[in-house]
Each structure stands twice: as C-alpha cells, then as structure tokens.
Subunit: 301 residues, 2 copies
C-alpha cells in the first residue's frame, strides 16, 4: 500500500483526517469534455487519500435497481499486486505484439517516425513494456445476480468512468484496458475472485508523465441522430477548436494478412483494450493547468 | 424538436452561436459524488443548446480502441419520438406492474405510506404513469463490430454516464432505464435501427421537478478491496455526512410469491431498469444550489 499523503487533501483543523473531500479545481463540463486516456506515469505512488476519494466517486455511480454490484480490487505494491501486474503485463505484451502485426502498425505510414500510426504504436509499446511499474491497477468487478446479459455493463462501466474522471479531478490519470481478459483464470486464482463475479477490465492509474494531446473523437454529427436512426440533428455542432480523429485501429490493406497473425478472440483483450488509443497519436503538447472557468478557449486539452 | 435557447449558453460577442461550451458552475468531484437519478421533470422542453452540450460531453467518453461505436438517438416531440415514448411507456407500466407485485412492494412496510418501500413504489409508479410526458428520451446504441461480449458495454456505458453528468452540469437531470428491452423489436422497426446495433438502454431527461434526496450507496468498505478479493482497505472510509442504503430492490419473504407473478427474463427490463431506484426512497429534501467550492459540508445532495 502507498503511504504518501497529499497536502491538498488534509482535513481542516478540528476535523479528523479523512472526513472531507478536496475542493474542486476542475469544472464538471471541463472534466467531462477534456479527460483523455493517460498511459504514461511517473513512479510516484498514489497517496491513500487520493485512492479513497477516487473510489468514493466511483462508487457513487448508478447501477441497475441501485444494486451496486460493482467491486474494486485495488492493486498497489503488495506481493499479490505485484504478481497481478506481472501477469497482466505479460498478457498485454503478448496481445499487443500480435495486434501490432495483425493491424499493420508497422506498414505504410507506420514506417514514418512522426506519423500518427507510428506514434500510436510507440505509445502502446511503452505502455505494455512498463506495465509492472504502473503505480496502481484497479480491477472493476461485477457480482452477477443472474446470467450475463448484454446490458449488465450498465451496472459497472459508469462507475469506471466516474473513477477515471475523479482521477483527473485530483491531477491523476488513467486508462481502461482489457488485457486481463487474456489471463482471466490465472488472475481469479491469484486474487481469489469468486465464480459468478466478472472481472470487467483493468484500470491503470498514476501521476501523468510527459505530454498528452487533446481528446479526439469523430464529429458530433456522425454520432448523434434525432427522431430516428440516421437523421442528423441540426444542433449537433462541435464547439470551435474541437479536434477530430477517425475511429478505431488502422485498417490493414485487404489481403495483406495471413490469418495466423490474428490473435483471435481468445487472445483479444476485449473491445476496451486500447480505449482512447487514437488520442495517443496526437503531436506532443503541454497540458494547460486546470481551471474551472475559461471554457471559452475551447474544450480540448 | 425543441426550439428554446438558454441565455447562459449564448456565445460571447464576436463568436457565432454554438461555438463555445458554457462556463462551469458545478465542480467535477462535486458532480461525480452528488449526481443522482432524477425521475420527475417539469414539462419545460430541453433547449437545443443544452442537448448539444450534453451530447458533446457524452461523445467525449472513451471506448475500446477509440472506435466510438456509440450512437445516440434523441427523441423529443416529433411523431416518431412520440410513438417511441408511448411504446416504451407501455412497456414500462407493464413491467413495473409485474415487478411491483413480484418484489412485494405493497407488502410489509410497503403498506406504511411513509416507509422507504412505499415511497420507492410511488416514485416508480409516477415515473411510468407520466412516461409519455418526459421531455426527452435518448437511446444510446452500440454499433457492434463483432459478436456480443460481456465487456462490450465498456464502449457505450461510460458515454451514458458522461451524458447524465453533463445534464447535471447544466441544471437538468435524468435516469438510465432498461424499459426498452421489453419492446426491442418494435422499437427497432419504428426508428429504423439496423441489425447488428444494440439499443443499450433508455435515458430520460428533463428539468428536475419537486424534491430529491441525496445519493445513497453502500458503505465504501463493502465495495472496495485491496491486494486481493475480500481484503478491506483501511483508507476506504466514507466522508462525514455520507448517506447509506442497502442494495437492490426489496426482498420478498421466501415462499410468498407464486411464480406466475414473476414477469420472467423476457419481460425483465434489464439490470439497469431502475438505476438508482433506492435513492427515490429518501425523505423529501430541497437540493442546495450548486457551487464549485464548499465541499467541506459533505458530499451528499
């Protein structure tokens, strides 16, 4: 467990430690529209007060019938935590190696050092290579009360999003990954996760290091319909300064891949394996300090 | 479509309308820890500028490989929107009627007008009875690129949470429900939702009416483990003033139900059908105005 204390989170005189939450320095809309996946961290441990606030925010999220079937296993530097980091890290490198080849990250523009594709590949390689040094992993779990349904994620993934947003509120950053799916059985045995409980992903967490580009998404008009499927909404206009990206991983040229290079569903870390990955392809840029106002400069960070 | 304009969202002089996002009046941590399901609305339409900001925030959420497979169908007052509201509203009443009986909402303390159980039942009854008058429904959809997996929700439900938080940021409120699952085929036909796209829920949206209690969850120590499953984290301490609830719907007495009263999986609206439902059982209390600071009073609203 980490033992550091963040001065900003110290309780005011007269109140016992741990009874209050820190004062906000980031606005709600600002946080929602500018929080991006962070995959580079300093080695600084995450203080317990920070973990406590982040997990408190995560567990305030809604769930079906307010059942609160979400549980969070926090892994810092104990022996099982280190073993879990190694297990997931090995899976991450294995899956990424296969994906790098299958998705053609090194072909075409991938050979140009400053291309978005090459930058994405470098960011991912660095992420998996240093996986064991990530200060904190958090495994969000779903305690099932019935057979799996496609909508069961509605009772755990909103809490994951709260968690990542709360990290941002405190000057930390993280990413949602699915590398754990490739070592699910080993991980359950190591950590004693019971049958009937779904390990829903792996959230990485730490103090951001280096430079991170702004959030990039598809234009709003491609994602929002009105009145029926496919009908554009004339109000669905991106704010000035919005940065865009195409969706998903690079598309390899048709016929350029042998199927042997495809890691297949069993090794696939799941749809959120590289959440927000394309954003890593952004050119280096120093994040501005967080402020609650000043939205008019544009929403991207 | 609604046509109102919110003065607070007007662009500054010199900039065309719609190019900026509004200034934050709610802090990020404050929003994360105090946003609750809102199921009572005024009849006031939701201005287009508000919808635009809410949907912009929703679509900034992360998704697997940044594929952004989420789409949002916004239903206000057009003919298909009204038909969809009626369709989902009928399903809601049918499913709730069965659930009210199956879960024993009217037995035991349910017969005492001011009991949590009776208040929850009244809130739900009012919600479904007035369903067609809810100003806006938003159907979050997931465009699948492969067969369903338990983790696919990681690419749509974080965006739903962003959406609800953004509503809060602008003085609106909403709830995530799964009533649509009971009329999935009819809804797809009505709105032209293609095969291979999952309608992942129904989000209701409007200007809050009446009084709403604070967020209530289980104690943090029941939801957070450290180092391995089941191990308590000594830092997992709720802030002073946190309000609690037990999890999920009321438990009917064993053997008190005939199976005929159970609507069964086909009619079950899904695990998020009544997200945050227990919070409706709170005693009436006037929400305080939102402020960015002032967190030390405690996180609950």
């Amino acid at each position: 467990m980490t033992t550091g204390e963040s001065p900003a989170l110290t309780a005011p005189p007269g109140l016992p430690a741990g009874t209050v939450l820190p004062v906000d320095t980031v606005g709600l809309l600002e946080g929602l529209t500018t929080t991006r996946a962070i995959r580079r961290y300093t080695d600084e441990p995450v203080p317990r007060e920070v973990l406590r606030t982040i997990l408190f925010a995560a567990t305030r999220a809604p769930s079906g019938s307010n059942r609160q079937p979400f549980r969070f296993v926090v892994l810092t530097d104990g022996p099982k935590a280190q073993a879990a980091k190694a297990l997931i890290g090995q899976a991450a490198r294995r899956v990424w190696d296969a994906k790098r080849q299958a998705d053609g990250y090194d072909r075409g523009s991938g050979g140009v050092a400053d291309s978005p594709k090459a930058r994405t590949a470098r960011a991912l390689q660095r992420f998996v290579d240093g996986f064991e040094r990530i200060p904190v992993l958090i495994l969000p779990c779903l305690v099932r009360y019935r057979e799996p349904t496609p909508s069961e994620g509605a009772s755990v993934y909103p809490a994951c999003q709260n968690l990542l947003l709360a990290a941002r509120a405190l000057g930390y950053g993280g990413a949602f990954t699915g590398w754990n799916f490739a070592v699910d059985a080993e991980l359950r045995a190591l950590l004693g996760v019971p049958d009937g409980t779904f390990i829903a992903g792996t959230i990485t967490l730490g103090r951001p290091a280096g430079r991170h580009g702004p959030v990039r998404r598809r234009p709003l008009a491609e994602l929002v319909y009105e009145e029926e499927w496919g009908c554009p909404a004339d109000w669905a206009v991106d704010p000035a300064g919005t940065r865009f990206t195409t969706a998903g991983p690079p598309r390899p040229a048709a016929g350029s891949l042998g199927s042997a290079a495809d890691p297949g569903p069993a090794a696939d870390p799941g749809p959120a394996a590289e959440a927000d990955l394309a954003a890593d392809a952004d050119p280096p840029r120093q994040p501005r300090p967080a402020t609650v106002t000043g939205r008019d400069e544009g929403p991207q960070r």
